[in-house]
């Protein structure tokens, strides 16, 4: 391509150089000369409709709109004359004539281009006749609210829908005497073939098209517009990897995930997917199956492009010891290793993985997936020493480590001190699961009662079922709706025959001759938690009853086990106290991350915590703390979406499972894999909310 020809023109007495082909308006704005404009938008073709950008050009009759008048060499342009000013004000007054006057009550207040222009032109009192359009507010569409009364018919939404997005569902329409923009025949957006990209709301200069308040309230702009990405604790770029999946480039998709986390496969199985809870697609029908897509990408990463594109920095000579090989420890190990530090991970158990291996049962997370991803970390140069229990941090410093990260998790379970809890057949969740995952024989009896309502309780119950327990019951304090376990855990558990007893308080464990016979319960009338998360239970009097059992498993939460020799300050529940910014503990050079800091949480939160601790540790070791990587370029943003009838109604690809009668016989994985067609179809459901943020934002006159 040849260099664009440059031309010179004179604007308001200033010589301005610009590229041939630009409009007078563009030339002026580029040169920092403000010409008021409203219908013009930098990303859209100009139409010259609002007449605010009119100028005088020597040799051209009348007042041409500068947005559609090409700048030409030698042109002499005036942007401010009395004639121009009065025409601009008349145009502005005409637009304001039907626009509500009460700016203060509008959500767009102070963020409104029209308001800003009104101030610029000083149009407070109108010489033209004011009117109220009295058009109804349209709140019936998902995501957006349309207030046609605020519309000044700049036509940006129509242009962005047609010209930029190629969707073309918005038109100029007439209602009575009023012109507004909307769909043909006033169809709901979903029926019109709208892609819900939000470009119309993005370019609207007034409060006419706005995002629904309830979706944005209390959120940053990023979190409101791309909630999947910015709700993810690790901020994985969800729309970007989904776009790669749509293009069937699964290795690139996996690379995008790996830009933020070293465990794409693990997360594809067990992530608690809070991204799906906030997915904007759920406003249309159901959220995108992000976890399914993540798993699909991770399992089809044949080319492993991330590996080739990941840059490991040269050795810093600094050594870091990481205690614990769970998701936070290994994540920190991976990124700190990339930063050039020598990493040793100490794991007290015989295998690495922490709760991913010793908490989550194999049927939920196949071990080859976990092993593979741990191997990737080891291959990056991380040394994992298993079977070594660290008792003293000082000893590590003495051994030459420059920093220590404590990521020991929460592996100590607890029993409630009710009568009978000391029976040997009363087990503790984490210990029970650890035993199974170590491959040890566990005597489970035939009637198991799990006490607890979280995911761990379900892990215990479902594992017990697989170990051969004929009857497995689960009782918890919470009501059915308030059970903390995830919905799929509950439903899959029930399919497997787990009998759930919600709203029960356990008062005693009964036994005869040392053999457990049952658990005594009281029905719970209400349950609440105080600030320290201590429960306050109100039971129903005389509701005592007994359920039979021969084994009881307590799954009522865990806490970290911090050896005295660490010398770290701990707080409630024995959690390690850290500075929320530096992740530093009470001890110089010692950082902490994961469940041991936050209490039992999700894998993705532990990973995110590991990332933050890695950043803090790297900075402590005089690194730059930048651990984000660009592992793959692209994909090209598909700005043209095109019309798609029925787009809003494409159903979600739901996770499907092996039939329960089959799956209770083994620890084989429960979920079925989706095929390529389903993955493609699901990826096409994504609204691509990130596209909108690529639209150039308009500068107000105050910024010139």
């Amino acid at each position: 391509m040849s260099v664009k020809e440059m031309i010179k023109l004179n604007i308001d007495g200033r010589d301005v150089e610009t590229q041939k082909g630009k409009s007078i308006l563009e030339a002026a704005l580029d040169a920092g000369i403000y010409i008021p404009h409203l219908c013009h938008h930098p990303d859209l073709p100009p139409i010259g409709a609002c007449r605010l950008c009119i100028v005088e050009v020597e040799g051209i009759e009348g007042l041409p709109p500068s947005c559609v008048t090409p700048a030409e060499d030698g042109m002499i342009v005036r942007t401010k004359t009395e004639k121009i000013d009065s025409m601009r004000r008349l145009a502005m007054e005409l637009m304001l004539a039907g626009h509500p006057a009460d700016c203060g009550t509008c959500d767009k207040y102070l963020n409104c281009e029209l308001q800003s222009l009104k101030q610029y032109l000083g149009c407070e009192d109108l010489s033209v006749k004011r009117r109220s359009k009295l058009l109804p507010l349209n709140t019936g569409n998902p995501l957006f609210v349309h207030d046609p009364n605020k519309c000044v018919v700049c036509g940006r939404c129509v242009r962005v829908c047609h010209e930029l997005r190629g969707v073309g569902v918005l038109f100029y329409i007439k209602k009575g005497k009023e012109t507004l923009t909307g769909t043909a025949a006033d169809l709901p957006l979903a029926d019109s073939g709208c892609r819900f990209c939000g470009a119309c709301a993005e370019v609207c200069p007034t409060g006419a098209i706005q995002d629904k308040k309830e979706l944005a309230r209390g959120k940053t702009r990023k979190a409101a517009l791309i909630p999947c990405r910015y709700t993810c604790p690790a901020e994985i770029d969800v729309p970007r990897y989904i776009r790669f999946i749509k293009e069937k480039d699964y290795s690139a998709a996996a690379a995008v995930i790996r830009e933020k986390v070293p465990f794409p496969g693990v997360l594809g199985y067990v992530c608690d997917r809070i991204c799906e809870d906030v997915c904007r697609r759920s406003e249309l029908n159901e959220p995108v199956s992000i976890r399914e897509l993540k798993r699909f990408a991770a399992e089809h990463d044949e080319h492993r492009v991330w590996e080739g594109n990941s840059n490991k920095k040269s050795a810093t000579g600094k050594k870091v010891a990481i205690i614990g090989s769970g998701p936070s420890g290994l994540t920190a190990a991976y990124y700190l290793s990339n930063q050039g530090h020598a990493i040793t991970v100490f794991e007290s158990l015989p295998f690495a993985g922490g709760m991913m291996r010793f908490g989550i049962p194999e049927y939920r997370l196949p071990r080859n997936v976990l092993d593979g991803e741990i191997k990737d970390i080891v291959n990056r140069g991380v040394e994992i020493k298993t079977g070594i229990k660290v008792d003293s941090i000082d000893a590590l410093f003495e051994a030459g480590f420059h920093a220590v990260l404590v990521a020991v998790g929460t592996h100590k379970g607890q029993k409630l001190p009710v009568p009978g809890a000391d029976n040997k057949s009363v087990l503790i969740s984490v210990d029970f699961l650890r035993e199974i995952n170590l491959g040890h024989e566990v005597d489970i009896g035939s009637k198991v009662m799990v006490l607890g309502g979280g995911n761990v309780a379900f892990d215990c119950a479902r594992a017990a079922r697989r170990l051969g327990a004929g009857q497995v019951h689960l009782a918890c304090l919470e009501s059915r709706e308030d059970m903390p376990a995830s919905d799929d855990e509950v439903s899959q558990g029930e399919e497997e025959g787990i009998v759930i007893h919600p709203a029960k308080s356990f008062t005693r464990i009964l036994s005869e001759n040392g053999v457990i016979t049952g658990v005594e319960f009281l029905d719970v009338a209400s349950l609440s938690f105080d600030e320290d998360k201590n429960p306050s239970i109100e039971v129903i009097e005389n509701s005592g009853h007994i359920l039979e059992a021969d084994t009881v498993i307590f799954a009522i939460g865990q806490r970290p086990e911090i050896p005295q020799g660490f010398g770290l300050d701990t707080g409630s529940n024995n959690l390690i106290e850290v500075d929320s910014f530096t992740f530093g503990t009470s001890k110089e050079g010692v950082f902490a991350a994961g469940d041991a800091v936050s209490g039992t949480s999700s894998v993705i939160k532990a990973i995110a915590s590991g990332r933050k601790a890695a950043i803090a540790t790297d900075k402590y070791l005089e690194g730059n703390g930048i651990i984000d990587e660009k592992l793959v370029a692209g994909p090209e943003l598909e700005e043209v979406l095109g019309l798609e009838e029925g787009f809003a109604f494409i159903n979600r690809c739901e996770e499907t499972c092996i039939p329960p009668e089959e799956r209770v016989n083994s620890f084989c994985k429960v979920v079925r894999d989706i095929d390529e067609e389903a993955a493609t179809q699901e990826s096409r459901r994504c609204l691509q909310c990130d596209l909108r943020t690529k639209i150039t934002s308009v500068k107000f006159w105050g910024n010139y």
Partner: protein, 555 residues
Amino acid sequence: MNLEQIRAKAELECDYPKDKNCIKVRVGASADHPASADVLNRFQQDIDRCGIKAKVIAAGSSGLYDFEPVVLIEKPGRPAILYRNITPETASELVNGYLSGDNPGPDLALYSIGGEKIDGIPDSGDMPVFNLQNRIALRNCGYIEPESINEYILCGQGYSGLSSVLQMSRTDVIGELKKSGLRGRGGGGYSTAEKWKICHDTEAGEKYIICDGMDADPRARTARLLIESDPHSVLEGMLIGACVIGACRGFICVNSEYKTAIKRLRKALEQMRNYGLLGDNILDSDFKCDIEIKEIESSLVSGEETALIRFLENKQAMPYLRTTYPAVSGFEGKPTLVNNIETLSHVSAIFQNSAAWYSGIGTERSRGTKIITLSGNVVHQYTVEVPFGTTLRTVVVDIGGGVLNGKGIKAVQFGGPTGCYFTGDSLDITIDYETMNEAGGIMGSGTIEVYGSDSCAVEMARDVMSYLQAESCGKCVFGREGTYQMSDILNDIAENKGKHEDLDLLVELGEGMKNGSICGLGRTAPDPVLSSIKLFRRDYDAHITEKRCSANASH
């Protein structure tokens, strides 16, 4: 096939035009006329029964709607006689009396054309509606059978214009057109030769020709009349244009409500294809072209060429602000010749005859003729064609018969809904581009709306502005909000709620609209209002100051 071969083929299929002994009965009526089919049938039945050698021809309308069905009887040895308002019964009378016998039925006749004078029948030379017209664009309307390409070829010199153009160089054709002085009949009056030259000179792989047959002004019946009565004159003009600029594709845009017109166009295109007048090697030359019909919902803005282009691009049919001529960059960014249907009918006439002939008609700078439709409070709501330079009075009074019930003329609005008014005293103004422009008016669609002496200028302006407001596409601020404000203010004044400042605001808005609207419609929309304030200030003052309507005592 070349033209000679086509003619020979046409004569094979259609022998009566050349047959000196065959009587021709041409029944002319608008397609929607309820009696025309019965009249046609009756003629045919009676002729068959009597065994007369006569051909009944289903012609289209000639524009004299009041007299339909009209019947033109060309009897060998007699002047052609035009009969009016024929019914099946009077049709039988004519067959028995004039076709079989020798009674020309003076009671039924309107006039005779040429030849010896017939007792009791006026000569066309004495009939204003005949002798004040000069029918060029409408030359075949009401005469030939619109559904027969053979009639067009044999009775209307059909496709001889195209044939001669194909023998000439393109620049010579443009030169001839320039000599004819033809100006665009879409309203603006831009030199047609100049427009063709720009399009011709723009180099591009593909070019297009668009024929505007929309009748965007619903009172204009030009496109409907031309397509229903003589589609080939327009299509031949399109082919000539396409050939000169180098376009291989043409679109003829028609109001989607014109069902008969569309049907006849389809038929015409099919007939052209059969004669090799569409497709490759037209008339054995290397010229190739195809024409598609585009049915478009008509609205006032659909007459804007930029709106038509948008429609053809499958976009909302709204005008856009152009920085270059469509002749340089139009449909899909390619050079596009947009011509009005009336212009194209003139084009075929010019090349069937000659530029010199054409340039001898009309005024010095407005050559040729203009189709005019009369509407409103006028005796005859005809569509006629008069030479430029004809006065408004001639058209309204002499041809149109003046205001109904013998009342005086308060005003006429010329050029369509955005045309300005002329008072009953100023009707000696001539119809031509220069005079209209000087008077602040427009040629526009060439329609004339007549208002009787009992009309109120405020109400006239209010009604037209309320229509323009409704028709405004809403895209640009002055077009949309300007018409809204004007309509509102005029309503107030008409309801005696106006203030004197309102008139200043109307003028201020009008100036803004003239300068600031995207399309011609918006730029001319204030004209009727501004001209009515200037001409009929007293009507406004009466409403504003005296709170009464000066025109109508009941207000």
